[in-house]
């Protein structure tokens, strides 16, 4: 589904990703872990097409197409979704309007019929239940005044409405209380199907108890330095990153 080959990317002159290789197949869940500042969010933003980052080398093939060649909204149309680490506020635009506009933009681009206001309400009520959010959020401006946890749940609500094929969750578990963590994980698991794939960026094993990954990768200084199965996350939880850093340091000498 997704194949990243030797991806180098960064901001104005400073390279942040120094050659990422990663293959994700349909039906798989990949976890990306790694210390602060190692480039996890950068990778997520590059995959979503943020223009602040430029790709200097390498390629990304998504469902047989050159992902890097697509505009961000085109990527969304093709089923790429990013749950942001820091969701953005849009004052004066209520969540319901925003979500319906997004859904209809995707549907129009895919030559499907638009959803009218009434059908949308039925649909969204269903999805609200999934993330256990109150209907009153629909009337509030997108993310404005939302608590940290509410913002994250709102991201999963959007994912539930837009039904992406490739979902990238950037620290969606950070700032969540125990119940919210369960709700988010449950949402992700419910939306899972064999033709979809998920990349979860996280710092914590506890999320991976609920969303069980097929693969775990560790990023360090803009590279994936170690990959393994779910036991790698447990090992990291126990030992921290130092042993990987050391190992990596000796390797790269």
């Amino acid at each position: 589904m997704l194949e990243i080959r030797n991806l180098h990317a960064g901001v104005e002159g400073a390279e942040i990703l120094h050659g990422i290789d990663l293959a994700v197949n349909a039906g798989e869940i990949h976890a990306i872990m790694g210390p602060n500042g190692s480039g996890k969010s950068t990778l997520a933003q590059v995959l979503a097409g943020h223009e602040a980052y430029s790709v200097t080398e390498g390629e990304v093939i998504y469902e047989g197409q050159d992902l890097l060649d697509m505009d961000p909204d085109e990527r969304a149309v093709h089923g790429v979704f990013l749950a942001f680490q820091y969701p953005v506020e849009i004052p004066g635009v209520n969540s319901a309007y925003f979500l319906r506009t997004a859904l209809n933009a995707l549907r129009t681009a895919r030559d499907e019929e638009e959803v009218d206001a009434i059908d949308f309400l039925t649909l969204i009520r269903d999805k609200l239940k999934l993330v256990e959010m109150d209907e009153k959020f629909l009337k509030r401006s997108v993310n404005e005044g939302f608590s940290g946890g509410e913002k994250k749940r709102h991201e999963i609500l959007q994912m539930a409405v837009l039904e992406p094929r490739l979902a990238i969750l950037d620290e969606t578990d950070s700032g969540l209380d125990i119940d919210a963590l369960r709700i988010v994980a449950n949402g992700v698991n419910t939306l899972y199907s064999a033709d979809k794939a998920t990349i979860v960026v996280t710092h914590y094993q506890r999320l991976l108890n609920n969303i069980v990954p097929d693969f775990v990768h560790v990023m360090l200084d803009g590279r994936i330095v170690q990959s393994g199965d779910k036991t790698l996350a447990l090992e990291l939880e126990e030992k921290g990153y130092d042993w990987i850093k050391e190992e990596h340091a000796t390797h790269s000498v």
Binding site: G49, P87, V88, G92, A105, S141
Partner: protein, 489 residues
């Protein structure tokens, strides 16, 4: 100009959907301004002597005034720059032929004109119109049609062209004309008083709630012509009216002057809601062409508990220079000003309001949203005056600016003058940049950049748009999107 700028230019100007010209036989005065021209206009309109004298007095006063542009630099307070206007090269009267005798009944209106308004989205045949909206259509210097006159007459409401009002209701016109904006008020008000050609007149009698929205649609068509219309709205005791004006003009390389005067009078317990959706041709990215929109609008809350509310959505014009204001004379009277001003391309806007608190317990609210894109310059200039006798006066002003790109500008000049210690005056101001991150967030959800800008801007202007009559709010929302197309990425 870079190729990208050129691309923007094509985008931006091709978006002005009202830029065509109606090919119609015109009758016009020769260019230039002198007493003979004023006599010509007055005679064309078959005006009574007192009105001719009124015009001439204004003209003579105008001659003694200094063009704001020719004042000493230190006295030029508006943040706008433009080349000298040659008042002798302007045509002060232009009218479609046959329209000279005042507005005809709809059957007699030139089909070319009906087609013009239809193309502008304002069908004048009553069966095709928005239910509940009466329209006065002003084409260059004259009103060409007014709809639903009979329905309104049944309620006792007078809604007609200004010229007609002069003929049919001279006493009302004489009583109120210039009573809110005297001809001495400012340079452009004096000019307007001398040469005004037409406009709308509306009178709501005591205790009547006007049964429909009233609206005037202004169209400048002829070249080298100035448009100087005069609008007068009078709401007697306990009356209510909601009034809306819309404006467009063809794309021309020369600048055209629009210097209107609007006067509102609200007596005891009366309410006037006055909305404007202004979309005159804005000119191009090099600042070529476009309308100079130099307008004086003022409302007098003469009666106790009266209320005047201005709502404006200003997307057009090369230069906008206007301050719809309220004189809060009556005790407990209320003034409101809700404004969205967009400056894109090379547009300049210096706009705001003046709230003058005279009566006790008078209240005013000012919400201003300025949006600047490309090379646009947007200035909010607002004054709040609380006079000695205005016990317990309250004002709340909120003034938000949004910048799109980094070559545009936003400026805020609040003037506050409080002479009564019991007054409460609050001013809040914010400036934000439409964020790359906001747009990216929308993009990531599948929303195109243009739709994202339109959505974010509409969200920013929400409180103001909510004040527009329903039928026009949707139109205004679309207009905001269209006027900012091509301003990002």
């Amino acid at each position: 100009m870079s190729s990208q700028a050129r691309e923007l230019e094509t985008l931006a100007t091709s978006d002005y959907k009202f830029g065509w010209v109606t090919d119609i036989e015109q009758e016009s005065a020769p260019p230039g301004l002198n007493e003979d021209i004023i006599r010509f206009i007055s005679e064309k309109k078959n005006e009574p002597d007192w009105l001719l004298e009124w015009r001439l007095k204004a003209y003579r006063h105008w001659l003694t005034m200094t063009d704001p542009l020719k004042r000493k630099k230190s006295e030029q307070w508006a943040m706008v720059t433009y080349p000298d206007i040659d008042y002798q090269s302007i045509v002060y009267y232009a009218a479609p032929k046959n329209a000279g005798d005042g507005p005809a009944s709809l059957d007699e209106v030139d089909p070319e004109l009906l087609a013009t308004y239809e193309k502008l989205g304002i069908p004048l045949e009553e069966q095709k119109m928005l239910a509940g909206v009466a329209v006065d259509a002003v084409f260059d210097s004259v009103s060409v049609a007014t709809t639903f006159k009979e329905t309104l007459a049944e309620a006792g409401v007078i809604f007609c062209s200004f010229s007609e009002a002069v003929q049919d209701h001279p006493d009302l016109v004489r009583q109120y004309l210039g009573s809110v904006v005297p001809h001495t008020d400012n340079y452009f008000a004096a000019l307007n008083s001398a040469v005004f050609s037409d406009g709308s007149f509306c009178y709501i009698p005591k205790g009547v709630r006007c049964p429909m929205e009233l609206s005037t649609y202004f169209r400048i068509n002829a070249a080298n012509t100035g448009q100087f219309e005069r609008t007068l709205v009078i709401a007697e005791e306990g009356a209510y009216v909601s009034y809306l004006e819309g404006c467009t003009a063809p794309m021309r390389d020369e600048n055209q002057l629009h210097a209107a005067v609007v006067e509102l009078v609200a007596l005891d317990n009366a309410q006037i809601k006055y909305s404007t959706v202004q979309n005159w041709y804005p000119g191009d990215i090099d600042g070529k062409g476009g309308i100079y929109n130099f307008v004086t609008k003022r409302g007098a809350c003469r009666g106790a508990n009266s209320k005047i509310s201005w709502t404006q959505v200003e997307t057009g014009s090369a230069i906008t220079w206007k301050y719809p204001s309220c004189i809060l004379q009556g005790d407990n009277s209320v003034g409101e000003f809700y404004s969205v001003a967009v400056t894109s391309l090379k547009q300049q806007a210096d706009t705001g309001t003046k709230m003058i608190h005279i009566g006790k317990n008078t209240r005013s609210t000012v919400i201003s949203k300025g949006i600047s894109a490309l090379l646009g310059q947007n200035t909010y200039r607002g004054a709040v005056q609380v006079l000695k006798g205005a016990h317990n006066a309250r004002n709340f002003t909120q003034c938000d600016s949004m910048l799109i790109g980094d070559q545009c500008g936003a400026h805020t000049f609040p003037y506050i003058d409080v002479r009564n210690p019991s007054a409460q005056v609050e001013h809040e101001a914010t400036t934000s940049k439409i964020g790359e991150d906001q747009i990216f967030y929308c993009n990531q959800r599948g929303i195109s950049t243009e739709d994202a800008v339109s959505m974010i801007v509409n969200g920013f202007c929400k409180e103001v748009l909510a004040e527009l009559p329903m039928e026009f709010a949707v139109e205004a929302q679309k207009l905001l999107g269209i006027s900012l197309e091509g301003s990002v990425g």
